[in-house]
Amino acid sequence: MLKIKNLKADIDSKSILNNFNLQIKPGEVHAIMGPNGSGKSTLSNILSGKKGYDVSGEILFENKNLFELEIEERAHKGIFLAFQYPLEIPGVNTNIFLKTSLNAIRKARGEKELDAIEFLKLVKLKAKELKFDEEILNRQLNVGFSGGEKKKNEILQMSILNPKLSILDETDSGLDIDALKIVADGVNSLRKKDNSFLIITHYQRLLDYIKPDYVHVLMEGKIIKSGGPELALELENKGYENFN
């Protein structure tokens, strides 16, 4: 599904990612762990198309060159980034935003756009699954949301848009244990044989709830070690500093 070959990314001539390689097959859950400044967020930004990086190398998503796709085209193809810091958008009703987003994606895929009633039915169902207070959906997008509500809102969006590849950028940071469980349940309920996940995190904690198939350690812009879930525990015990 996703093939990253020799990815190099600079920002203002500072090297962030270098010789980065990763392959994700349909249905797999990969976790990338790394200390601050190792390039984790850069990776998620580049995958979703954020401008401002000098990049070289190759990223193929379902055999399409990702660098040729605009931000929204990547979303249409099924890439979703759950933001580390979801933006507050004043004046934009959350429900209306969700509907606009879903219909933009459906339209691009040649599917029928949902009308207000069909959409509300879907959103109610998903919100219930995620134990998400529906009242929040009538508020302005992320405005005045608590940290947990913002993250849950990301997972709700993910669940409604049903992407093929979901990238979770430190979704666990700032979450209390109950919110963490809800987020993990949300991810687990979306695990299907065609849906893949890339989970970016500092801590092993989230991986207690979402069992990854592979764990990669990212340091100074490249993966220095890959393994199974046990690698996360090892990392937790040793710390990043002693790992190199």
Binding site: G49, E72, P86, L87, G91, V92, S101
Partner: protein
Amino acid sequence: MEEQLKIDFEKLLENSNFSKKNVEIKRKNFNDFIEKGFPNRREENWKFSDLNQIISKNIKNLSFYHDLSKPNKIDQSIFIDSLEHNKLVFVNGRIEKIEFDYEEKNKIQILDDLVLEKPNNANNSLLFLNNAFVSKYFKLIVKKNYSLLKPLVIYNITNKDLVSKSVNLKVDILLEENSSLKLIELSNDKSTTNFININYNFDVQKNSILKNYKIDNNSNSNVKYCFNNINQDTNSVSEIFLLSSGSEFIKNEINCNLNGKYASAFVNGIFNLNETKHHEIKTNINHIVENTKSYQLIKGVLEDKSKAVYQGKIFVESKAQKTDGYQLSKAILLNDNTEFNAKPELEIYADDVKCSHGSASGSLNEDSIFYLMSRGLNYQEAKKLLINGFLLDVVEKITDTEIKNLIKNIINL
């Protein structure tokens, strides 16, 4: 220009039958205008909008007289059809229709043979010009204890026949005690490069409510000035909403005197500008007595080479204790060639007051755009959603639901 003014003024007197008294007042005002001329940037009030320059740049061979003896056709397609309403229709400055079909006839009175009064603002040369050249001066009176059942729409239409003219309108509106009026002013211009000078005087008496929505939305090359003087008595409310978007230049000036206790004034406005448009909102909210309240929220979205100016003043008289005054202005500048000038002013002589002001401007937040695009919206859709969201809270301040929806429709919100 002075030569032209003199010729046109004599032509106006010749072709009209103003009372002797009015001719006398007009002459006085005419001379005052000749002396002062159009305002320029040396006057503090006009420092961001040099009208003298704007007129000479945009209008070639401005003339001050045009024949109002023949009726004009009204283009009915301009009328708002989603809303039942009363009508006052001006075409090229001539009154063409007065229609109050929804109201009790004896509760409303319209006068049109009034004696002009000397402008209360002795520094404003445009009021002199208005007094000198206005052909008919109207006064609408809403009688005591009467609330109009439907809004009144004043259509200010100009058509293709009008080119490089100075048009002056003057309307007084008196709301007697316990009365209320929802007034929409809708301009529609197919004319080119005229100077349109409008003067409203509102007298809002005890316990009365004025809701005034000024909509300038269709693109045109005219230069406009609209001076609104509002006097408010005890426990009265005025709610002003400005949609400032269509004309090449328009300055809306609002001078509001809160003369009675518990009077409150709300001024909310939107600049939605593109190309070389240059718009200004200037307010003077005068808290004259205690326990009065004012609230102002102005937002702008500026594209291309457009420019917006907001000069907002809150004045608090020494005996106006417990004043509550607030103003905020914000602008989104969509490119480097746009300009937003905000000059908040607080002049306070009382010591027990609550007043605040703020202003901010900046470009669209790229991170927000990225967030929305990562959810499948293209750049244009993301931009539109952000801009609409930015403007929405100003429109949400409109307390009349029907009119709020009308305005949302007009600006595709």
